[in-house]
């Protein structure tokens, strides 16, 4: 379906809000997964604020499910949960503190909106597949979205899940690969280059769509297409930039999990203002 300019601008604004909330969660001097949360911010905004069926009750059985297999990027989800009213805004400043409900990695028992426990990489796609199979057994039309990191693709379990999903024709499952080309230590090129990622997913029996993961229209169009594909799961290979939105962090492994200096933090706040003016 074609999107109105106003719809796209609304999602773009939401993506900026997510980035602003991430800054609230990890102010200068507080470590956090800035890079991977920001590379996934536009995808996350498109999922929660436009594409997925979401409800006031985070456990409403009719909801679509979103699992961050790359659990460290959960900050982007937390920002959405505040906007959706699942989590009080005051929790953002308490992320990763002993009294907070927002953990360093997704914890379904503590945080309303979190669907599973992920963070040990490679498991979230399998969990998503299990949910997709369970939804089919329950005759539910809800869909499952798994956000997967590109560094995470070196986990063998990802490919076990990829094979099983195509064997079971899990067309209610969509994997979105946050293809930001940077992992914890360095660029994927230097750490562990994985060749022909698109061909691999296709060879494992998935319908593959390649997009710019920061282009809201492309993201939404790909998600719509995935919903139409029957008889096989869809993988959206989303080209992204680690740390997107904050020039000092873009494409840098340093901000995989780090704290900003006071100066960088000021730059980041200024970048948010600039983005807001441009929408």
């Amino acid at each position: 379906m074609a999107y109105l300019i106003s719809d796209l601008e609304e999602v773009r604004r939401r993506a900026i809000d997510i980035r602003a909330d991430i800054l609230e969660m990890i102010p200068a001097g507080k470590a956090g997964h800035l890079g991977g949360s920001c590379s996934a911010a536009d995808i996350t905004a498109a999922l929660y604020f436009k594409h997925m069926n979401v409800f006031d009750d985070p456990k409403d059985p009719r909801r679509d499910r979103c699992i961050f297999s790359k659990g460290h990027a959960v900050l982007a989800q937390y920002a959405c949960f505040v906007e959706l009213g699942y989590v009080d805004r005051s929790e953002l400043a308490k992320v990763k503190t002993i009294e907070g409900i927002l953990q360093g990695h997704p914890d379904m028992d503590l945080t309303p909106g979190i669907e599973a426990v992920t963070g040990s990489l490679g498991q979230g796609l399998s969990i998503s597949l299990g949910m997709a199979l369970g939804l089919k057994l329950n005759d539910s039309s809800s869909r499952v979205y798994a956000v997967v990191g590109d560094g995470e693709l070196s986990e063998g379990q990802i490919w076990e899940a990829a094979m099983a999903a195509s064997v079971y024709k899990a067309d209610n499952l969509c994997a979105i690969i946050d293809y930001n080309l940077v992992q914890a230590t360095d660029t994927t090129e230097k750490v562990f280059p994985i060749l022909d990622i698109k061909d691999k997913w296709a060879a494992f029996g998935w319908h593959v769509i390649e997009i710019d993961g920061h282009d809201i229209e492309q993201i939404l169009t790909a998600l719509d297409k995935a919903r139409e594909i029957k008889g096989k799961p869809t993988a959206i290979l989303a080209h992204t930039v680690k740390g997107k939105g904050f020039s000092f962090a873009e494409g840098s492994a340093k901000y995989h999990n780090a704290s900003m200096t006071e100066d960088e933090y000021r730059q980041a706040l200024a970048a948010i203002e600039q983005m807001r003016m441009e929408v």
Partner: protein, 310 residues
């Protein structure tokens, strides 16, 4: 004594439960003919997920199914589930306390031919250490059936350790079962032997040997290793001169460890009998391995004599 196979009892019970409870789903990693989960698959193919030889994926997929309201049984040899899928069981299943039931089949040395890669000497240790996990080790086929039924009523993850071979039947099917129950198989007043799995029958034979030496031995079947009923355990120790534990598992982290932890404040000598920090090996039959790793009635009798002198 009547001999029955726990694996067969396991598979047949799954089939029975599957008829009553449509929320039961079963996952298999290409060992269904060994674990006997295939019986369920033959009857309810739409609720049976063959995931190929991929135990890690199996554990996390089961977590996803449990999140959608299913009671998911995953099956393989104990060395592979829980062994190979340890982190998936820890993270996907145990942290969120999901209804995933883990069947570790061919446990202990019971897969005698296949050797050390296929013989689990550590499965109790690695499951017992996980928060939320229940750990079961049935003594026979009758108790296996009772346990599988109880597992479906239980909340949270559960591990059941299943022997590959036919075992003598001690359990009275008419007696009520609940998770946590320990049962006195034989009474005695000098020493109590807490045994699990195949070692219960070995302990009964050891007690008969000790009768001839004028030592009276009580044998208790501990089939729920976690949560351990500490009060019942202490009651069985009342008036005893010593305690012996017996398991077909490493002496580290298994039943012996659990009993010692529970009795750590008691002034009572305890001796642990198990596999002494070793992997297994291949053999022509099961008995040869039980002999090789000192898991025979004579070995238990030896421990009883030692504990009496402690």
């Amino acid at each position: 004594m009547d001999m029955k196979n726990c694996r067969t009892a396991y598979g047949e019970t799954l089939v029975k439960l599957g008829a009553e409870n449509k929320n039961i789903v079963v996952l298999e990693a290409d060992l269904g003919k060994s674990t006997m989960s295939i019986l369920f698959g033959n009857k309810y193919p739409e609720r049976y997920f063959q995931v190929g030889i991929a135990e890690q994926n199996m554990a996390s997929v089961a977590a996803g199914l449990a999140l959608e309201g299913k009671t998911a049984f995953i099956n393989s040899f104990a060395v592979f589930t829980p062994g190979r899928a340890y982190d998936q069981i820890r993270s996907s299943v145990c942290i969120p306390n999901l209804n995933v039931m883990i069947c570790g089949s061919s446990a202990g040395l019971s897969d005698y031919g296949d050797g050390k890669t296929h013989q689990s000497v550590d499965d109790i240790a690695i499951t017992r250490v996980l928060p939320h996990m229940t750990v079961l080790s049935p003594v026979d086929a009758v108790e296996t059936e009772q346990m599988v039924k109880a597992m479906c009523q239980n909340k949270g993850p559960c591990y059941i350790r299943i022997n590959r071979n036919d075992l003598p039947v001690f359990t009275d099917p008419k007696e009520e079962y609940h998770i946590g129950k320990m049962s006195r198989i034989r009474d005695g007043k000098d020493v109590v032997v807490f045994a699990t799995g195949v070692m219960v029958s070995q302990a009964v034979k050891a007690a008969e040997l000790m009768d001839k030496e004028g030592v009276s031995v009580r044998v208790v079947n501990i089939s729920t290793i976690k949560p351990l009923d500490i009060q019942a355990l202490k009651n069985h120790c009342q008036g005893m001169k010593g305690v012996v534990t017996a398991e077909e598992h490493s002496i580290y982290g298994g039943l012996g460890s659990a009993v010692c932890e529970a009795l750590s404040a008691e002034r009572l000598p305890v001796r642990i009998l198990g596999i002494e920090d070793s992997f297994g090996r291949s053999a022509e039959n099961y008995e040869l391995l039980l002999k090789r790793y000192h898991l025979m009635p004579e070995d238990i009798a030896e421990k009883i004599k030692l504990v009496l002198n402690d």
